[in-house]
Amino acid sequence: MPFDPVILWTDALIYLFVLMILIGMRYVRRHPHLLASWKRVGHSASGMSSLTVLLFFLLIGFLDTIHFRPALESTNAQSEPIYSVDVLSVLDILVTPLRIQVEKTYSAPLATHLYAKETIELPDGQQMRTFARLQYGGAHLQHLETEHTTDIWVRSLRGAGYGFAVWCLLLIALTAGLSKQDECSFKQSFGSIWQRTSEIPWYAILITLLVLLLLVGCVSALIGYYHILGTDKVGQDVLYQSLKSIRVALVIGTLTTLIMLPFALLLGIMAGYFRGWIDDVIQYVYTTLNSIPGVLLIAAAVLMMQVYIETHPDIFDTTAARADLRLLFLCIILGITSWTGLCRLLRGEAMKLRELEYIQAAHAFGVSHWRIITRHILPNVMHLVLIAIVMDFSSLVLAEAVLSYVGVGVDPSMISFGTMINAARLEMAREPMVWWALLAAFIFMLALVLSANLFANAVQHALDPRARTLRHSNRLKHRPHQSGKNTLPAITETNTVAKTNHHT
């Protein structure tokens, strides 16, 4: 076999997560009323275009999850294949040039020379202090001054052209599929897409997809020849680092939430619903946990883990496995410390809901406590949960950066937005400043968190039966004297979600 599949701990959890989502989708498909409300998610233009971006990120993250160890070329054909100690992912293979084209040190985006002067020995034996040519970036160029810009333009336009061609193919396939489904002519369904009369806002998806494909086209045409986002201190491509960071961010964002959610939901609702001594116990637990500085707790736990890892080197066969276990442990400890906020929020909400008359009516029917919690309280706090999860997602990615700064974050060998931002601390203080690593981390994180926020917002809107009548108010933009303000809570929640984007 040319490779040896590796399933790391986080990989397994991600597969489990994907499986859960697939089962959930199957369940929804079988229940028409659930399907109907989820279909409404598909009617929101912003929701669908952010979903497109999000899917793109998820795809990258998923490709980066399929790990394996490639076989080394063995001298003896008969013997057992020997596998490399490096664990690679499918993404690594797809972007091989990015991975292996490593320069000496910093270079600016699309540059042909290093960013710092260094002493080089000329062929005639003289020494000269100058900006050295890059080993890979622009190495194919003969006449630098004349060719550099033109070459970049030609290649990126060609790449964009390919991207556009792929997009056109997709458009034709989609239109053909739609016309077959709706049993109308090709022209009609094409018209309905662009006149925005189709039920699903295909135009929004297509425009987002066009932008994405043009970018991907440009990037893939350039990656073999240039470092599009420059290189870092050890000459590694920043674009590669950013792509690898996506998985870490997604893992921290989702796994931590999954660990935190049962605590927050169960304890918060129980405290608010039962009151009495249960409430007291839960309150004492979370106030105590809250008053211990989170960073200290996490540092202590992570350092303990580190000691364990270092004293038991034999249980890890690769460095990747070690780094991965540390990441998982970080998720768990972050999850255990971060449920208190949501728990408190849910306790308050449950206290409010338990006095409402429909819950009193359920009591009068003798409905069991568990059923009241799951049927009456849980669905009515889900909007809070959804918002909290999305808000936490961005703050968790940032928490990872802070912890990496303190030295208790992810393993140093693992690339993450946190380690990138952490490195940028020194780079920004340098003269001349190295700005591209931070910018790359910023752009990728912004795109990821923003699309997650917008999508969560669309989901929340679609699933709230009360908010449905309000969706019309978005179409009133053309009226100058009113800004579509509405007093209903669904809209104000939108604003809170939108505000979180500024934090990133």
């Binding site: 009193q360 359920a362 049927r375 009456h376 009515n380 039966p465 009360r466 009113q482």
Partner: protein
């Protein structure tokens, strides 16, 4: 007459949905100084939008598209915003429905009045303070000098509304807009506030635009009445003409749907359908679809104003001289409007079978906890020794002001609140101290309907699931799905809803429809006793009539007993067989409905009954206005709880609580005015 305010062809639209909603559509009216103009109508007909248009305080989605609002000849709609600011509070003031929400909780009353004074005049500090005291005394706040520095939470509901009126009066306005000023208040407090408004109007010669849905309040307050329907005024008259000869079919049907004593054994007349959506353009009369006297012309032409008397105009084709029907319908009266007479009077003799439910000396005390260790500091005596009994198929009305413990009794009968002492016997089975599983077996026999139709249904559950919940929870052996579906269909039909609604969510229904669903949910488990906790107080008059009819027919057909908790005396007269009057956790008077309504014995009952605004001014008993508010149930007054407010209090009332006085088999009271038993 000197006209103060003149509104001409006012049109206000709301851009809240795709189609603009014409909330006010061509409204014209005139108000003279010193006059009260009542704008009457059901919810959603544009009354409040009219008020906000006059103040130019419309919500962001609102827009006045045409018309004129002139106050002494100045057109308010032409003024720039800064000029408008000097009009608001100075020439036009407004008081709102909910006094709890319209005062700022972090500012003292004095500061809030001072705010208005500095806006409209340059008074020195001491002069301003003096003026504040003056204003508060004017609205009848005792000890104004000290109480002005208190915060709104230290004021009771009635006091807050008085403070609100004082703020509105601070700028000495020429026009006071009162938007449902007493809807959130109890009848005895409502009587005080209405009295106050009348006094102030006489003293200041101020005009009042009174917005209300309560015909009783109109009868007590107004000189001129305008009936609003679907964004326009359909009838305008002075009070006498309005109440003696209501002309518009809508007005007539509104009167017919009021619950009254003499309608006891009839179904109430119901206005079919609902108020039309204001987003559409109307080709004919807006009421035509619901009108019982609609003619072909009503659907085709928009009716114009027709004068019936000097001061009485109506917008209806019936009064068009071209239409020959005019003569016939002008003399229409209640009996003709009653299309729905269905049953004859069948007053049964008082049965002596053992009662369905007996409540004996029930006490519910809530501990007040204070301090670090939450030690018990005192008790709120929410219910303090109440005994009641209900026979099957009968209705017992529990009457009293808010905070007197009515709802607590209802909930403790259902064991939603654990009683402190006393016993509740349902079919001679003790309910208090039953375990959860024992209680589960008999839960299906008593159920509850709540006041607020909006919070009584889970917004995330479809109607079908809401109805199934109780059936599943209380049925010992689960039945097949098809049987359940049939059951749901029958239930929905029984409460008068189409069966398709079971697939929908509660927010798609109006208040009346939601209340029907709540009733269907309670009926799903076939109860024998239904506790109705103010089921109609959040509903409009015409919808209230529908719900009352429904409840009555359920009682006739299924023999359900009702414990009807309410503060609405008219509903009691219409529906109840027996009445128990509560004051501060205790029943002060109890008896058959006729005994209580015709010969009330306890001074509180007498005051309560006389405080109810009456439409027909045929009052024989003198008006009794109670002073002050309901005392706190945490520290009930010593002796008879009612003595601090009682007009006939005696020294003995301050010492001990009176024992029972019996007048007949059924009629008892607790008062020292009558001979005491043992």
């Amino acid at each position: 007459m000197n006209t103060l305010v003149e509104i001409d062809q006012l049109k206000t639209v709301l851009h809240a949905t795709d189609e603009p909603i014409r909330a006010v559509d061509g409204l014209s009216l005139k108000i003279s100084s010193g006059e009260t103009f009542a704008l009457l109508g059901e919810s959603g007909c544009g009354k409040s939008m009219t008020a906000l248009s006059i103040m130019r305080l419309l919500p962001d989605v609102g827009e006045i598209i045409s018309g004129q609002i002139r106050i002494k000849g100045v057109d308010l709609l032409q003024l720039p915003e800064f000029a408008m600011r000097s009009i608001r509070g100075k020439r036009i003031s407004m008081i709102f429905q909910e006094p709890m929400l319209s005062l700022n909780p972090v500012m003292t009353i004095a500061e809030q009045i001072h705010e208005v004074l500095t806006q409209h005049g340059r008074l020195s500090h001491s002069a301003a303070q003096q003026r504040i005291v003056e204003l508060l005394e004017q609205v009848g706040i005792p000890d104004a000098e000290h109480r002005m520095h208190e915060y709104p939470f230290q004021f009771s509901g009635g006091m807050k509304q008085r403070a609100m009126i004082a703020i509105a009066l601070a700028g000495e306005p020429e026009l006071l807009i009162a938007d449902e000023p007493t809807t959130a208040l109890d009848v005895t407090i409502q009587a005080q506030v209405l009295d106050l408004l009348r006094q102030i109007q006489q003293r200041n010669h101020m005009a009042i635009l009174l917005i209300t849905h309560d015909l009783g309040v109109v009868a007590e307050m107004a000189q001129q009445v305008g009936v609003m329907y679907a964004g326009e005024i359909v009838e305008m008259a002075n009070r006498e003409d309005f109440f003696n000869h209501p002309a518009h079919p809508y007005t007539q049907q509104l009167f017919a749907s009021l619950p009254e004593k003499h309608k006891r054994n009839h179904a109430l007349a119901v206005i079919q359908g609902a108020v039309p959506s204001l987003a559409q353009t109307f080709a004919g009369c807006r009421f035509a679809d619901r009108c019982q006297q609609a003619m072909a012309v009503c659907h085709e032409n928009i009716p114009q104003w027709h004068s019936i008397a000097d001061d009485h105009q109506v917008r209806c084709h019936l009064y068009d001289s071209k239409n020959q029907h005019a003569e016939r319908s002008a003399v229409i009266n209640d009996s003709v409007v009653f299309g729905a007479l269905d049953k004859n009077a069948d007053i049964e003799p008082i049965t002596t079978v053992s009662p369905l439910l007996r409540v004996i000396d029930l006490k519910v005390h809530f501990p007040i906890r204070k301090g670090l260790f939450k030690s018990i500091f005192g008790h709120v005596h929410a219910v303090d020794g109440v005994s009641l009994q209900i026979s099957s198929g009968k209705t017992l009305a529990l009457v009293g002001e808010s905070g007197c413990g009515k709802t607590t009794i209802g909930k403790s009968i259902l064991q939603l609140i654990q009683p402190t002492a006393g016993s509740i016997l349902f079919k001679n089975q003790e309910l208090v101290s039953l375990s959860r599983s024992q209680l589960q077996k008999i839960r299906s026999q008593f159920q509850i309907i709540f006041q607020d139709p909006f919070s009584s249904l889970n917004p995330r559950m479809r109607i079908r699931e809401t109805l199934l919940e109780g059936m599943n929870a209380l049925r010992v052996s689960p039945l097949s799905d098809t049987h359940n579906e049939q059951e749901i269909d029958t239930l929905l039909q029984r409460v008068g809803l189409p069966i398709e609604v079971k697939w929908r969510f509660p927010h798609e229904f109006s208040g009346g429809q939601r209340q029907r669903i709540a009733i269907a949910r309670a009926l799903a488990v076939n109860p024998e006793l239904l506790i109705c906790d103010e089921p109609t107080s959040a509903l409009d008059v015409s919808v209230q009539a529908q719900i009352l009819n429904l409840l009555k027919s359920l009682q006739d057909n299924l023999g359900i007993a009702f414990l009807f908790i309410t503060h609405n005396i008219a509903v009691v007269e219409y529906l109840a067989d027996e009445v128990a009057v509560m004051y501060l956790g205790r029943v002060v008077e109890q008896g058959q409905v006729d005994e209580i309504m015709d010969t009330p014995k306890h001074p509180y009952t007498q005051a309560l009954l006389s405080s109810v605004p009456k439409i027909k001014q045929d009052r024989v008993s003198p008006l009794i206005r109670l002073k002050g508010d309901l005392p706190s149930p945490a520290a009930p007054p010593f002796g008879c709880h009612f003595h601090p407010r009682c007009p006939r209090a005696m020294p003995i009332c301050r010492e001990t609580y009176p024992a029972t006085s019996t007048f007949s088999n059924t009629h008892t009271t607790h008062c020292f005015l009558y001979s005491q038993e043992s």
